[in-house]
């Protein structure tokens, strides 16, 4: 059917990544309502309808690949949206590449996903390294005493790459990395590592992992009397579950994120023309703040629509070329895919929990609070 743009999305709706999968599902639903309200999208002077086909792959990699194939061959989708996480994105990218179907990775930021020379893979998140470098510089500026940092990350594609990137940035930024370890997936206790961190006596603790790891980590840091002025958890505070699970101890925890709703882009291409519009619609629908996963996924859909419009058809090759040439501004920020298909680096927000709220500290253009040190 030529008048319907079919988007396929294998999602983790159950299993380990179920919460993330649901977020993707939710935001696309919102996005689709918006598009449908406008009667579809305009392509080459005609209205084209948009449809999502979603399957649950139960956080099982083998299944993810299988469903990608089903989407492509059985449901004949025009484009694939990748699920949460770099690992599963890789699996699906291999299938999409083989079938030469354009694929948008909206929640995969590890460079290792993009360095395989794939032609049909495009990612809306920017490289991790950009985030860590600016963070080191910003913290050094805010806290001249800052000398020693402890890095503690989960041994999983994304958290590991963030931890590695930060350790590198910290070293080249002149900080002393006094502790740098990974913990295995499924670790239920961090007291041993935190004891070791404590005896290394850092000024800054940087921990990465899934929400449940970070809740536990934050609590154990406090329990074991690690009182560094800066505690950063990635992606912790970006999620509501984190702040709820940690309670008062969340106060003062910093994080970096690819997007925050206090950014204020206007005149954007896509379903929402300003960040504020998106924020308003999202909070009205879901009674909670959107995080970077929601925004990036919605933006990916916008980029896709834009590419189809530029190409003037849903021909896969044409859409792919249009995607490669993309350089637009969305409510989520500018999107301009580099040679490897990844969104070009830009300034990414550093956020902090202050009281009940999430405040933006950096970049100055959107900052709405001063950084507080944890006492």
């Amino acid at each position: 059917d030529d008048d319907v743009l079919v988007i396929g999305a294998p999602l983790a709706l159950t299993g380990g990544l179920a919460d993330e999968g649901k977020k993707q599902q939710d935001v696309w639903k919102l996005w689709l309502e918006k598009i449908n309200a406008a009667g579809g999208i305009d392509v080459a002077g005609k209205k084209m309808q948009v449809k999502f086909v979603e399957y649950d792959y139960q956080t099982d990699g083998k299944r993810a690949g299988q469903l990608a194939e089903k989407l492509i061959t059985d449901d004949e989708v025009d484009v694939i949206m990748a699920p949460f996480g770099s690992g599963h994105t890789k699996i699906i990218a291999a299938v999409a590449e083989r079938y030469q179907v354009p694929m948008l990775a909206c929640v995969a930021s590890s460079v290792s996903v993009y360095d395989q020379g794939f032609k049909y893979l495009f990612g809306t998140l920017a490289p991790n390294t950009g985030m860590t470098e600016s963070m080191v510089e910003f913290f050094k500026e805010k806290n001249p005493e800052l000398k020693k940092v402890a890095v503690y990350g989960r041994d999983d594609v994304f958290p590991k790459s963030m931890a590695t990137a930060l350790a590198n940035s910290a070293e080249s930024g002149g900080l002393d990395v006094v502790y740098n370890e990974l913990y295995a997936v499924g670790t239920m206790d961090h007291s041993a590592a935190i004891s070791a961190i404590k005896s290394a006596n850092p000024d800054w603790v940087y921990m990465t992992g899934y929400t449940q790891d970070l809740i536990l980590g934050r609590k154990q840091l406090a329990d074991m009397g690690v009182n560094t002025p800066i505690v950063t958890m990635v992606t912790g505070p970006a999620y509501r579950e984190y702040t709820e699970g940690v309670g008062e101890l969340a106060d003062g925890v910093t994080s970096s994120t690819w997007w925050h709703h206090s950014t204020a882009y206007t005149n954007a291409v896509g379903a929402w023309s300003t960040t504020a519009d998106f924020y308003a619609d999202f909070t009205a629908a879901y009674k909670s703040d959107p995080d970077y996963v929601s925004a990036s996924c919605a933006a990916a859909a916008d980029v896709l629509v834009n590419a189809v419009q530029v190409a003037g058809s849903k021909d896969k090759q044409a859409v792919r070329d249009a995607l490669a040439a993309t350089d637009i501004l969305t409510f989520y920020g500018p999107i301009d895919f580099g040679d490897n298909g990844m969104n070009q680096g830009r300034e990414m927000p550093i956020i902090q929990v202050q009281g009940e709220e999430i405040k933006v500290l950096y970049p100055a253009s959107i900052a709405d609070a001063e950084m507080k040190m944890i006492k």
Binding site: T14, G15, A184, G186, T187, A192, G225
Partner: protein
């Protein structure tokens, strides 16, 4: 001073681990069933504690008896109506059956509770002893875990039902001749296993974030602890749990957290081969 802190960490963590393993070990040792449901029982206990706490505001410690008893009931019924029918089949059959039941329970839990991590945020602070820090909630968890272990130990050793459980484990028909109702004893044993799992879940909800994704992790820990301590033995599970806690604590500190879990597994394999009955051999009433 670090060394004492690590030692204490290990012991506290180990007691919590023991709590995970006791019910599992009992069911395995007595009924000869590898209960794949055990991890889900723990999580179920944890979620029930969380929601009951959120709803009522009552400290989960006081909810523990109710929740654990509810799990006892669930375990009793599952055993009585399902597992008892195949209880004397080979390991693989009972394992597959509990695996199937677990898939159902797990699915129900993900639908009703979602995978969102939940934690009872009491945040009771810490006790300081000089340089040492001991979180109050963990200490409380340890206290409860030890209390329950002791209670179960006494039940197994001194009570009639305890003796009946051991007899049934050894020879079903001979136990019948002693006047013991075997199906009932099986169901009670499985119920006790579920009770301990539920109690562990409640304790954990105050200390760890609970999510359905952890069922496998809990099950894995229970396995290791059983092997270290010996099957079907209450003191064995306690010793196994504390041993694992100490190993992870020391290994995590010295060779890094990433390898700490591996060390636990290597130790377990080693023990399995040199001493399959565990540190505390299976004997008598334990």
């Amino acid at each position: 001073m670090d060394i004492i802190q690590i030692l204490l960490n290990g012991i506290v963590l180990g007691s919590l681990y023991a709590c995970i393993a006791i019910g599992f070990s009992l069911v395995w040792g007595v009924l000869n069933i590898i209960n794949m449901l055990h991890g889900s029982f723990i999580i179920l206990g944890g979620y029930l504690a969380f929601f009951a706490w959120q709803y009522s505001g009552v400290n989960p410690v006081f909810l523990l008896p109710i929740i654990a008893t509810a799990l006892f009931g669930l375990g009793y019924l599952l055993q009585y109506f399902f597992i008892n029918k195949v209880v004397s089949s080979p390991v693989l059959t009972t394992l597959t059956l509990t695996f199937g039941l677990d898939m159902i329970l797990y699915n129900l839990m993900t639908v009703f509770f979602t995978a969102t991590p939940r934690r009872v945020t009491l945040d009771l602070g810490t006790v300081n002893l000089g340089d040492m820090y001991l979180p109050v909630d963990r200490l409380m968890g340890m206290g409860l875990a030890l209390f329950l272990t002791a209670l179960l130990f006494v039940v197994m050793r001194a009570s009639k039902i305890g003796r009946a459980i051991v007899a049934v484990r050894m020879d079903r028909q001979a136990a019948t001749l002693m006047g013991i109702r075997v199906n009932n004893v099986y169901a009670i044993t499985f119920g006790i296993g579920a009770f301990m799992a539920g109690a562990a879940g409640v304790i954990f909800s105050m200390v760890f974030p609970i999510t359905t994704n952890l069922t496998g992790t809990f099950l894995g820990k229970a396995f290791i602890i059983c092997v270290i301590g010996g099957l079907g033995s209450v003191p064995g599970a306690l010793i196994g749990g504390i041993a694992l806690g100490l190993i992870e604590s020391f290994a995590g500190y010295t060779i890094g957290p990433q390898n700490a879990t591996t060390v636990g597994f290597v130790l377990m394999l080693f023990l399995l081969i040199v001493r399959p009955t565990g540190l505390v051999g299976v004997k008598g009433y334990e």
